[in-house]
């Protein structure tokens, strides 16, 4: 196998002209990647002086910011493992430190109660970065070494932890580069949370191949994007849906579509990257027509990027062909299975009993649970999501069934179906018990469900159905399961109206 990309980026100070920009509303920092590498080495030196050693685990619970990526590269330089926690989803407390075996946790979030010894303000990293960078003994990684822990939604509500191997990261970076040829002059815009390993890939790619990378936040992305003038933007479908609606509104006001697109994205877009949830074909078409090529792909945390449309092989409606290091198999039940030359891992490090066995199969195979088919040319089409996952427009994934079960279990409703009309908050349509409906009882049930849920899983509004779901009214199957699509269609107007329904306190 050729040289490890991770080995390369930790040991080689960039000699190219690539630059890193970190920007948000009201702030902007830009530096050559060579300087960034020096500053990360200074952070690495400071961590070593403080006693951090190879194999230690450093948690990061912070919004996208320069210190995040300085710490990430510094940890790679000394062989410490990172664990990226999504802001708002975790609390920087002793329980988090203990649950995930953290030697340190750097955060910009408020710490409730007394600050545990392992928890440090992430501003310390900025101070470390200003120290003199030392000469470091280069760390060499084995393909099976694991540089980071990534977290994925678990059916119990507690996120599952998965350690990613160096071999899988190298393989994904190399394969993506072969498809898209990112090069000097490109500027890849990242705004989804850096706790998602794939977002950090684009920094690794910039360090290795000499293009620019810009990091911003979900809150600021639309404000800063025209000034950044990126060539590539990575986003989930819901983000591009919002962009499409905005462009269409500007066209309705009389602006030409290419100009409306440039007003929002800048005028240098080479392509847009999307995945992680099904994309609306109308959105994909609309952006293409506005002069913005968009490529859909497919992959889970457990497989990394498995398939991807790209300029050399693009079939709209599909999620592309497998990357060179991946093989897609459809099993006898129609479920998509992905085999990797370099698997992300073969088990979760943190998960409820049986979860690893359900997902990871022998031979580097992951059984995704999604239904799909391959066409005669090897393009993959996803036919359904077995787990009913909602992906919010900030990239957060919500598995709806455990939350629906929680609502049913209160006894205040007989059925619950969740949806997310604007990709930012959950709305429940509930089937009331037969007889008069007492809104106070349902409101109390909503409060108790939300109290037992993780922050992202909380329900904003409840629409109480006009009549209980039944087989006769077509809202239950013959096995008494709710017919999700029909229920959501029937109550579409009330779901879309933010004033409708019972609101969470």
């Amino acid at each position: 196998m050729s040289e490890s990309i991770i080995d390369h980026i930790v040991s080689q100070r960039p000699e190219h002209d690539g630059a890193l920009t970190v920007t948000s509303l009201g702030s902007r920092v830009r530096m050559p990647l060579s300087e960034f590498h020096d500053r990360a080495r200074a952070v690495a030196g400071a961590l070593l002086r403080e006693g951090v050693r190879r194999g230690d685990r450093i948690g990061v619970l912070a919004a996208n910011r320069l210190e995040w990526v300085l710490l990430d590269l510094a940890a790679l330089m000394i062989g410490a493992q990172t664990a990226g926690f999504e802001p708002g989803k975790f609390t920087p407390d002793t329980e988090l430190v203990d649950r995930y075996g953290l030697d340190r946790l750097y955060t910009d979030a408020a710490v409730p109660g007394p600050v545990p010894a392992a928890v440090r303000p992430i501003e310390e990293i900025a101070a470390h970065a200003r120290t003199e960078p030392p000469d470091l003994e280069p760390v060499a990684y084995d393909p099976l070494d694991r540089t980071t822990v990534k977290f994925t939604s678990g059916s119990t509500g507690i996120p599952k932890g998965l350690e990613a191997t160096v071999g899988s990261i190298d393989s994904s970076l190399r394969d993506v580069q072969a498809l898209f040829d990112h090069r000097p002059g490109d500027d890849l815009l990242v705004f989804l949370p850096l706790s998602l390993l794939q977002q950090r890939y684009w920094l690794y790619s910039a360090l290795r191949w000499g293009h620019d990378v810009t990091i911003t936040t979900y809150q600021s992305v639309f404000a800063v994007m025209p000034a950044v003038n990126p060539t590539v933007v990575m986003g989930v479908p819901a983000f591009f849906d919002t962009a499409r609606r905005h462009i269409e509104a500007r066209v309705a006001d009389g602006l030409e579509s290419g100009k409306a697109a440039a007003e929002l994205f800048g005028d240098r877009i080479r392509y847009l990257w999307t995945g992680s949830a099904p994309a609306d074909p109308a959105m994909l078409r609309a952006l293409e027509e506005a002069g913005l090529p968009i490529f859909e792909g497919y992959g889970l945390n457990e497989t990394c990027i498995a398939t991807k449309n790209h300029p050399g092989a693009h079939r709209p409606g599909s999620v592309g062909r497998p990357l060179p290091g991946k093989t897609v198999l459809i099993d006898e039940e129609g479920v998509v299975c992905v085999r990797s030359d370099h698997p992300v891992n073969t088990a979760y490090t943190y998960a409820a009993e049986g979860e690893s066995e359900r997902m990871f199969k022998p031979g580097g195979v992951v059984r995704t649970g999604d239904l799909g088919r391959l066409d005669e040319d090897g393009f993959l089409y996803i036919l359904g999501r077995a787990d009913d996952v909602i992906v919010l427009d900030n990239g957060k994934k919500i598995i709806v069934r455990p939350i629906e079960a929680r609502f049913r279990d209160t006894g205040a409703v007989t059925e619950c179906v969740l949806c997310c009309p604007d990709q930012t908050g959950l709305v429940a349509v509930v089937s009331p018990p037969a007889g008069p409906v007492d809104p106070a009882v349902i409101a109390a049930a909503l409060a108790s469900v939300n109290a037992a849920s993780e922050p992202d899983e909380r329900i904003d509004r409840v629409i109480v159905a006009d009549e209980p779901f039944s087989i006769d009214n077509g809202l239950l199957t013959s096995q008494f399961k709710p017919v999700r699509k029909r229920i959501l269609d029937r109550y579409r107007d009330r779901i879309a109206d933010p004033k409708e329904g019972l609101h969470a306190e």
């Binding site: 948000s24 509303l25 009201g26 702030s27 936040t217 979900y218 809150q219 600021s220 992305v221 639309f222 404000a223 983000f239 919002t242 609606r245 905005h246 509104a249 006001d253 427009d393 900030n394 604007d422 990709q423 930012t424 879309a496 109206d497 933010p498 004033k499 609101h503």
Partner: protein
Amino acid sequence: MPSELDTLARTHLSQVLRDRPDPASLVLDEDLAAEYGLTSLNKVLFLTSLCKAAGVGLDAFTEDDLAGMRTLGDVVDALKPHAALKG
């Protein structure tokens, strides 16, 4: 009587709302997210287009400022000191 900035803010808010309501029907002290269903992404689109139309530099604001703008009135008040228009 509404000010020039107030009118401009209503127009631009209406443009990012799904059903494009009559700008005059928008209420200054209603919560933008809870009452009008304004998402975070559309909120920043709204502020961006309003700032452009009002000749206010976006760099006058931070993410914390944006988070503090919960109503149309908050947005108008935040822009007033920077706007060339009659507040």
